[in-house]
Symmetry: C2
DNA sequence: CAAAAAATTTAGCCGCCGCTAAATTTATGA
DNA sequence: TCATAAATTTAGCGGCGGCTAAATTTTTTG
């Protein structure tokens, strides 16, 4: 039985993958949000970040220090937060991943709690799975008749109303 | 802006939902595994459980005590672990959810690390999302030509080789 | 330009879920 | 049966990512 077909707990997988996985889920949340704000305003502040993520400023400070130590943020105490090149690259990836998951959920008919569903799922998706879900999205996009057929299948009676 | 379209961190969602979500991801891992063994052997022991989940026995004890306090296990110190009715019901649900996610991943073409991918994703899926993914699985099952078309779309050139 | 306000950081606590080491209970076999 | 082995539990630690309270720095304003 190889490492691959043995069971682990969520925590167990975390511990196993902490060599190759750079960021924890929490750090990813912060980096993704900083990236969003970079696109909008060009920079980020601790207070803005803590408001956007619904955490206390002290929590934001702690995470920003970690991301900074990892070379993803350009930042000094009491200062303005910018992304380094590495941070931008990672942030862009996180936002893309988010959008792939969200689009998939919309495709299969999720409307309630779309944001929170996406936010929770995105951290547990590998690049490979993300790529394959993206292919499924593209498949539906280029084959709208099939997506339509699925929707009829899913909810007979509501043929056209949703979407 | 309602609670629904605000961002939170993973930890934030955890804290928000701890009223309605009975179990943590970790507890779910243990309960699911106990359920698997119930089906196979009818009972569970701490050592077996810790081996199956690749944790130390002391960790298994701690979680079993928690699940027991929640009324999901029938268990006394140094004794054999059984599921209560509530535990069986929850365990059955967990196994079903696992299988729905796994089938979906297989459908979209995941072969590498299938188990770990499933194990990580399953905890972040709501009942609603699970139901919709299940519908997608059923859709592919009843429309094999469409699944086939997706596979060609996904991997042009490997038309028939996989599955 | 000094005092007050606002923003940020630090220190220290908590629950989760791993771990190790040591204690305890249960099972085995000479 | 009784000593040893095996299984299980307890105690206590560590990192994560929240929190509060208090300290510090920066900004605003009279």
């Amino acid at each position: 039985m190889s490492r691959n077909d043995r069971f682990y707990t969520v925590r167990g997988y975390q511990l196993l993958n902490q060599e190759d996985k750079l960021l924890t889920s929490g750090m990813e949340d912060y980096l993704e949000m900083i990236y969003r704000n970079m696109e909008k305003e060009g920079y980020m502040r601790i207070n803005t970040l803590s408001n956007l993520l619904n955490v206390k400023p002290s929590s934001a400070t702690k995470m920003v220090q970690k991301l900074s130590a990892l070379g993803l943020l350009d930042y000094r105490k009491y200062g303005i937060i910018f992304l380094t090149e590495a941070g931008k690259k990672y942030g862009r990836f996180l936002l893309e991943r988010h959008n792939v998951i969200e689009k998939f959920l919309v495709n299969i008919g999720i409307t309630e709690n779309l944001l929170s569903e996406t936010e929770l799922i995105e951290h547990s998706i590998s690049k490979n799975t993300m790529a394959n879900i993206d292919m499924l999205n593209r498949f539906f996009e280029t084959h709208p008749a099939i997506l339509d057929e699925f929707r009829k299948f899913r909810e007979p009676g509501f043929e056209k109303t949703d979407e």
